[in-house]
Every structure is written in structure tokens, then in C-alpha cells.
């Protein structure tokens, strides 16, 4: 892989089995109709490169394959065929807060998440106060996570995620978390990553500022790359696509 390429995605296919009806009766019904198409194509022959230091946006309607693609880049899903190569330390900010345990407090969840991200226990313990402060949760440190609001959970998860110093950051819609002041704060942190010339792959539905943040944007439609290139051009195609769908 070329040194200036951070992520290489080559001829990637991904299908998912449609959910089988539950239970024995559902299974019998399925046997009765063996010709029903039971697979959905999530990504269809997707090929692109993301360059070192580039901020690469991915846009598309719901179900277009954005999250599946990020999960495959993160190594959570494996492609049915094709190759994904990563050049550098990668940190995913995906499905934010889903790894937390509701019975544990904020600081306990910070330590668990941090250790899974590769921090030593003492390193992450030293960062707990800073993370809590950034998430503006100083008054809730003894509260179990199940009593947090969804905004508080998202703030906590984002604050943990940005502690990692990766070469490549995968961001899935998470800049829209919390209230307006927290969003602005998150956005500033995001820009700091960009200033440090980190590679960022970023999916969003919010088109405002996308052309200012991203060097290139890719439009996915039903698992196929519809357009890739200059942000303004791609956003224009996307807007046209949305208006056609209306």
C-alpha cells in the first residue's frame, strides 16, 4: 500500500441476511418458500482510498451503507469479498455509548472503555477527571449510567473517544450529540484533530459546513458509490438525489 494512503478499500462487497422470522413456525414458513430472496446487499463493489491527513466525508440516505462501511474499516464487520487495508492506529467513534454498562457509574464506565481502547488502567484513571469535566458531568459521578439522560451518555462517550490519539479517526454522526453548547465544544475538538493533520473519516446527515471541514466527500446510494470528489459538487448531487426522492 502506498505510504500516503491511510485507508484502502478495494472491491468490497457486503451482504446481510434478512432477519429470519423467529421461532419454529417462522422457520417452517421459511422452508416453504425457499425462493424468497433472503439477502440484502449493503455494499456493492466499493473501491476508494483515503489519504494521510485527509478529512473524508461520507454522505447518503439512511440505509445507504455508511455505517456498515465504517464498521468494516474499524474491523467490526468483515467484507464478504474485497480488501480493506489500514495504515496507522485507528480509533472508531461509532454507535456512541453502546459499550457502556448501565449498572456502572460514569467514572467506572470511563475506565472500562479506556482500557478497551488500549489505555493502561493507571493512564485512564488519571484522565477520568478531565473526561468528566469535558463532558460537564461533575455533579453526576456517583450516579449509575442507567439514570443518565441520552444526551449525558453521548457527551460522556464523545469525551472518552477524543482522549485517544489515533492516526485515523472514524466518526459516525457523533458530532450531533448533546445540547448546542456541547456540540460547539465537540466540533472544536474535531477541528483540533484536523489541524493536527490526522486522517478523519466522517459520516453525517448535516450538510452545513461539510464543504469547509472535508477535503473530499463520497456519496453512497444503496451500497454503491454514486459520486466521489470535491465536497461542493458531491453535496449538489446529493441534494438533487434528495429532491428526486421527495
Amino acid at each position: 500500500m502506498n505510504d500516503n494512503v491511510a485507508i484502502k478499500v478495494e472491491r468490497v462487497f457486503k451482504t446481510f441476511n434478512l432477519k429470519r422470522p423467529d421461532g419454529l413456525i417462522g422457520s417452517i414458513k421459511k422452508i416453504e418458500s425457499p425462493f424468497t430472496n433472503s439477502k440484502i446487499i449493503a455494499l456493492n463493489n466499493v473501491t476508494f482510498d483515503v489519504y494521510q491527513g485527509e478529512t473524508f466525508g461520507i454522505i447518503g440516505l439512511n440505509g445507504s451503507g455508511k455505517t456498515t462501511l465504517l464498521r468494516m474499516i474499524a474491523g467490526i464487520y468483515v467484507p464478504d469479498s474485497g480488501i480493506i487495508k489500514i495504515n496507522g492506529k485507528l480509533a472508531p467513534l461509532l454507535q456512541i455509548g453502546s459499550g457502556f454498562h448501565p449498572e456502572l457509574t460514569g467514572p467506572e464506565n470511563i475506565i472500562i472503555s479506556g482500557m478497551l481502547m488500549g489505555f493502561s488502567k493507571s493512564d485512564i484513571e488519571n484522565k477520568v477527571e478531565k473526561i468528566i469535566q469535558f463532558a460537564e458531568l461533575e455533579d453526576y459521578t456517583n450516579m449509575k449510567l442507567k439514570h443518565y439522560s441520552s444526551g449525558m451518555i453521548a457527551r460522556l462517550a464523545f469525551s472518552i473517544g477524543i482522549q485517544v490519539d489515533p492516526d485515523i479517526l472514524l466518526v459516525d454522526e457523533v458530532l450531533a450529540v448533546g445540547d448546542i453548547s456541547f456540540r460547539e465544544k465537540s466540533y472544536k475538538e474535531f477541528l483540533k484533530f484536523k489541524d493536527k493533520k490526522k486522517t478523519i473519516v466522517y459520516t453525517t446527515h448535516i450538510l452545513t459546513d461539510l464543504h469547509e471541514v472535508c477535503d473530499r466527500v463520497m456519496l453512497l446510494d444503496k451500497g454503491v458509490i454514486k459520486e466521489i470528489g470535491n465536497p461542493l459538487d458531491v453535496i449538489k448531487v446529493y441534494r438533487e438525489m434528495i429532491s428526486k426522492n421527495k
Binding site: 461509532l94 454507535q95 459499550g99 457502556f100 481502547m117
Partner: protein, 256 residues
Amino acid sequence: MIPLIQLRGMQNQIIHFAWKNIKIRYRGTNLGLVWMAFEPLLFWVFLYLVFTSINIGAREDFGIYLITGLVIYHNFVRGSQGGLMSLRENFGILSSMNVKREFFPVVATTTSSIVLMVELVVFFGIMGIFQFVPAWTIILLPIVLILLQILILGISYLLSITYAYFRDIQPLWGIFVTALMFVTPIFWYLEDAGGFALEIQKINPLGQLIELTHQIVFGNVPSIQEWLYPSAMIFGILFAAFVIFKKFERHVVEKI
């Protein structure tokens, strides 16, 4: 393809997660972590009262015989059930981070090893109450306990990955371990058994481990064959389960 190799350097995470499992399990209860000891103790008290009131428990040192089998059985059941749930319980983590799948059944086994340490306090405590002094052969006990944890690890690999693809395994395993209690020499003696019970014992690694422990506690030195046979079975289960786990782990997040 060797179990645990890929988790080198993750010892701290494994131990931290195992403690977290224990804390979560008993958090909010009045007795807290004391339940780790109370669970097998109450189980033993109940069975002891029942079996000593009928002929089965009439033998000398039946209380010691019973707690020996019960501690091993109880730890196996708790450990295997934790292993079964280990991937599914951590779906949130698996779907948002690239964590090695093997981490979770290993954490479940580590949890079971920590619980075993507490259960051993109950084990030796009951010996104290009965003023029973175990023979020198008790020094062999750690070998049996290590084999037990290897067996739990193998079963955890197998059950966790099976549960991701086939949810019916959960109620099936519940029935299986209940049946296992009756076909394993916990409250009955091997020399009294015959037929079906003996045939099952030959292929029951848990039963073999319990029988080894009985011998050790009551001062007999098990023969080489008595060590090798269950060891071969347990390592066979571990490697077969690990191969199956590695074969199916790639798509586990999608399947769950």
C-alpha cells in the same frame, strides 16, 4: 491456532473485566460479595439436610463428600453460564469497537476462577466445622482446579459462539446442567453406581474431575490413568471448541 496467545498483554483488562462482572452481579444486594460464598453454602446446607434425612447421606463424612462435589459442580455451572452469555452480553462493545472476540469467554472464565477462590473458603470452612483434616494428598487439589478452569474455558468458547448463532442453546444448556447434577457423583458414590450412571461417568469430564477431587480429599493418590484420561478429554474439548470459535467468530457481531 492456540487459545489465549492473541490476548497476550491484555491480562490487566481481563482481570478488571472479571472483577466488573462480579461487582455488577451482586451490586444492589444486601450481602454484596458475600453472596459468592453464600450461594454454594446455602445449596450445600439444603442438600445436606435432605440427603442426611434419607439413606443416601448416611455415610461417614457425607458432608465433606457433598461439599467437594458441589463446589466443583457449582463453579462449572456458573462459569459455563457466564461463558454462554459472554459475547451476547457485550454486544454493545463488540458493535462499536474492534475488540478481540476471544476476550469475552476468557473474561468469563477468569470471573469463574475468582469466584472459585471464595468458594474454596466455604469448602475448607465446612471441613473445619466437621473437624475434618484432609490428607496430604490435598496438595494435588490445585491441579484439579486448573483442569476445571480449562474445561470451563473450552465450554465457554463453544457456548458463546453457539449462542450467537443459535439462541435455543441457552434453555438447552440450562436443562443439560440440571441433568448433569444427577449423573455426576456429587451426592451418590461411584462404587454404588452401575449401568447408565457408570457409562455416563466415563464420558463426563466434570464427573471425572469431581471423582479425582474426592480421592484427593479422602487421602487416595489417583493413578496416572485417572489423571491422563480426564486431562486428555478436557484439552480435547478446549482445542476443538477453540477451532470452532475461531471459525465462526468473524461474523459474530452480525449474527448477534
